[in-house]
Symmetry: C2
Subunit: 512 residues, 2 copies
């Protein structure tokens, strides 16, 4: 059975009275077909890693340029084709209501799926999602089609909404970032991307001929926004830490003095968790001759937007500084069953963007029209229960645990980078793809990362490091461990390769 | 207490040991403050309707042009300012864990909120949402952070996903619209707007210098897309039914022969449920000299995209015709706790749009990045249970009930329009705003509509018509009912005003 991780036992244990279950699961049960020629998956086998069985149906393909540049092997591994394992929908039999077979089939699928989710949740380190939440008290609301369509502040004609929760959440975030109730506008988005799409759109509407500046380590949604919005975009260099390089930024600004600047500031980059220095960015703009009426700053705080207020030495994200918008994800640090985010901007900016929609009896100032009304209640619930103090404690624990992970990795001879304000630990990409899959690590080129969220305990980190050591040992059966150089990615001081770390003999030293 | 529909009794019945509850609810408990001057709500009092107490804090304001044109009174009523009733978040007390007061407070809020939702769900007619669903079997999944980030067909590194359900759902829709598995690409969106944003973006990437054509009764997201994407957009006239006027369409095409055409085709307009004639649109394009390699058609099937396949005489939406994409909402006819939608396009089109994202080990071809993994499971569950036959039965019942509603309205002396392929009944806007609010009717200018969904029974329609008759009677205490002329909106044959319907004396005739 190819790629059957999602329903490992269903095909293997068919019961006689589950005849149509078998039929439904056929695609998972039969050998996977080779991918059709025209599918542009760009899936390739990893030459360094062991080629796993689940990758047997991969094919070689051309790489997109951006990725080739970031990966010294010039190759990129994509996930499996889901069409091989998907759960087809079948027409109910005429007598299904009598026999109950369809319900039994679906109950079986869901029960197995739930087991898979438990397993997958257990071994998760790669994405900045807090998987530790208990929303049992909210289960009673699943029966309602809750929709906050339109503007959060103006009640629409549709009565089944949760705007009173949404605005409570927005007020909390506005206060966190120092905007008064009558000074801000915002809404709860579907994800970090929607926040960036909104922030950059507001920037463009304020400065229609503005040029978008973003460091090359910005989230891919920032560049997607530029393309969607037909904006000129300038990719600014980064330091090894992942922070924007303000020297390069200034050069670029000076070269494009005639256009206003719209800047995406990363409050925690996706891969390295690097926090761009907001104060330095503002100084750079001023030094390059951009007065405050000629720039718009959007802060992409997907993960750290909610952590950084609780880190004492961090540069403060606040609307007391000349910024235009901040976005943060709700499913990351807070934790939520579905992706969501919070977008806050100055009220003066939103008027340029919005129009009233009579059909809704509301205003259209959001990217999406219909909006998930459950997400605000999840956020409201958690914010109420934890409060500022609760988040502060969690942030401190995450940062502590991230340091613990980094120290353990370094003392086991791995290269590892941990930015000062971050709980994202970057390390050399494990060579076994199966290990990467098990721990769901996000990889880029020669590096991978683990994000230490509230759901990540010291015990989980211990398990992870021990398994990683074993995984590495399997790749070097002769015991001579070759540590790849990742100095370009994490800096020489964080690199454990022979050249950068001659102080100890890897493997041998550690064994003794 | 101003505007306290959402938590009617909380402020009214404070218990002594709920001291901090009171504090939290303060904004709802104190008299509503006047709206700040700079808030651009454009809220006005409706001169015709009785001015209700909840509107006491409204102010006059300028209208946006589009709305003024559609409303002969030149005015638009927006909903209430939610800031007056929002549920603030409070910092937990140090001893909350011991006393359990915070939990008790939240349980009380949620319990009252649930009651409100039940009431609001009961009296709902205005939006095309099927509110009748039972997803109890899926409650067990609420504890997981399910995220299908990236492309549905390529498994990402994040293991807690539901792609196997999503692709099953997509296959079902592709088959419904006659595309083979290896010919289509698609994904489950957050709402109808995301489908339109995606379809129009694909069109623009296929034809970068294409002009967007959309009838003026298209959903507002279509015009938002044009603005976001910096595309030239041409608003085409409509017939009284709400369908696109192909004579005007042809004239516009001929005037802009040099640019390719990107057309938004409405499979059910938002207000009148009018279905644009796809075959006539294609013929018009050909007549105007646009060969198939010079146009791209996106079908916005938000509601009717899923109903029309089951209506025998309807023009078929199929990829056997030269269309590029179709979108449909999942929370409308199917019914789902949160908004979602399905977007299907030809695989050949998506390659232009997408790029691989190594961080995800997947491909970026969607508008959003992180994507709700629960919605696909809801859809999968319902499609499996109901199947084609189940939907067919429901569609037939909805159309039958819509005819019943239209007939009852007409025989009670109201103007009413029901398009042949639609379950949206358009009628004159009720004069009592309280009635509009109770039944959550979507209004535009002089008309309102009710959408007959599977959750709408004949009993509910009877209740509605009887209350509407009583509401009208209250507006004409002398018994002389004046029916407004809405011939421009619904056509003379559907208008019950004196001029258009001299055959019977309103009110008096009906009473006898």
């Amino acid at each position: 059975m190819a790629g059957g991780l999602e329903q490992p036992s269903l095909a293997a244990s068919p019961a006689p009275d589950f005849a149509h279950v078998i039929q439904t699961m056929k695609t998972a049960d039969t050998p996977a077909e080779p991918l059709p020629d025209e599918i542009p998956l760009n899936i390739i086998a990893n030459e360094v890693a062991q080629i796993l069985e689940v990758y047997q149906d991969d094919e070689n393909g051309q790489l997109v340029e951006e990725c080739a540049a970031e990966d010294d092997k010039g190759k990129m591994i994509l996930g499996r084709n889901i069409h091989d394992t998907c759960l087809s929908i079948t027409e109910p039999e005429v007598d299904d209501e009598v026999t109950g077979e369809k319900d039994a089939f679906m109950a079986a699928v869901l029960s197995r799926y739930r087991k898979t989710l438990i397993e997958k949740t257990k071994f998760h380190l790669g994405y900045p999602y807090n998987l530790d939440f208990d929303y049992g008290a909210l289960a009673q609301l699943q029966h309602f089609s809750i929709n906050n369509l339109g503007d959060p502040f103006i009640e629409s004609n549709y009565g089944v909404h949760s705007r009173q929760f949404e605005v409570g959440v927005l007020d909390w975030f506005a206060r966190l970032w120092d905007l008064e109730k009558d000074e801000y506008w915002g809404y709860i988005t579907n994800c970090g991307t929607e926040g960036n799409l909104h922030g950059i759109l507001v920037g463009r509407e304020v400065f229609p001929d503005g040029i978008l500046y973003a460091s090359k380590e910005s989230h891919y949604s920032v560049f997607k926004a530029a393309r969607m919005y037909r904006m000129e975009v300038i990719k600014v260099d980064t330091l090894t830490s992942g922070e924007i390089d303000c020297t390069d930024f200034k050069n670029r600004l000076v070269q494009h003095k005639d256009n206003p600047a719209i800047i995406n500031v990363n409050i925690g980059t996706t891969v390295k968790g690097a926090v761009d220095d907001l104060d330095l960015i503002i100084r750079t703009l001023e030094d390059a001759g951009f007065s405050r009426d000629r720039f718009y700053i959007h802060c992409d705080g997907a993960l750290f937007g909610l952590m950084i207020p609780f880190v004492k030495k961090a540069p403060k994200v606040t609307f007391k500084k000349p910024i235009g918008s901040v976005s943060v994800s709700g499913h990351k640090f807070v934790g939520c069953p579905m992706p969501c985010g919070v977008q806050i901007t100055r009220k003066e900016h939103i008027n340029a963007l919005s129009r009233n929609v009579e059909y809704l009896a509301s205003r259209d100032a959001t990217i999406m029209g219909s909006r998930n009304g459950h997400a605000p209640i999840f956020l409201w619930y958690t914010l109420n229960r934890k409060g500022y103090r609760g988040f502060q404690k969690e942030v401190q624990r995450c940062l502590r645990n991230a340091h613990y992970l980094k120290d353990r990795l370094r003392s086991a001879g791995f290269s590892a980078l941990l930015n000062e304000l971050s709980s994202t630990v970057v390390f050399e990409r494990p060579q076994e793809e199966e290990f990467v899959r098990k721990w769901q690590l996000a990889c880029q080129g020669k590096i991978a990362h683990a994000v230490v969220m509230p759901s990540v305990t010291v015990e989980k980190l211990d398990d992870f490091v021990e398994e990683l050591i074993k995984s590495r040992a399997r790749c070097f059966p002769d015991g001579q461990i070759l540590v790849p150089c990742v100095a370009d990615e994490v800096g020489g001081e964080n690199c454990s390769c022979l050249q950068h770390n001659q102080l100890f003999q890897l493997g041998i030293d550690r064994q003794s």
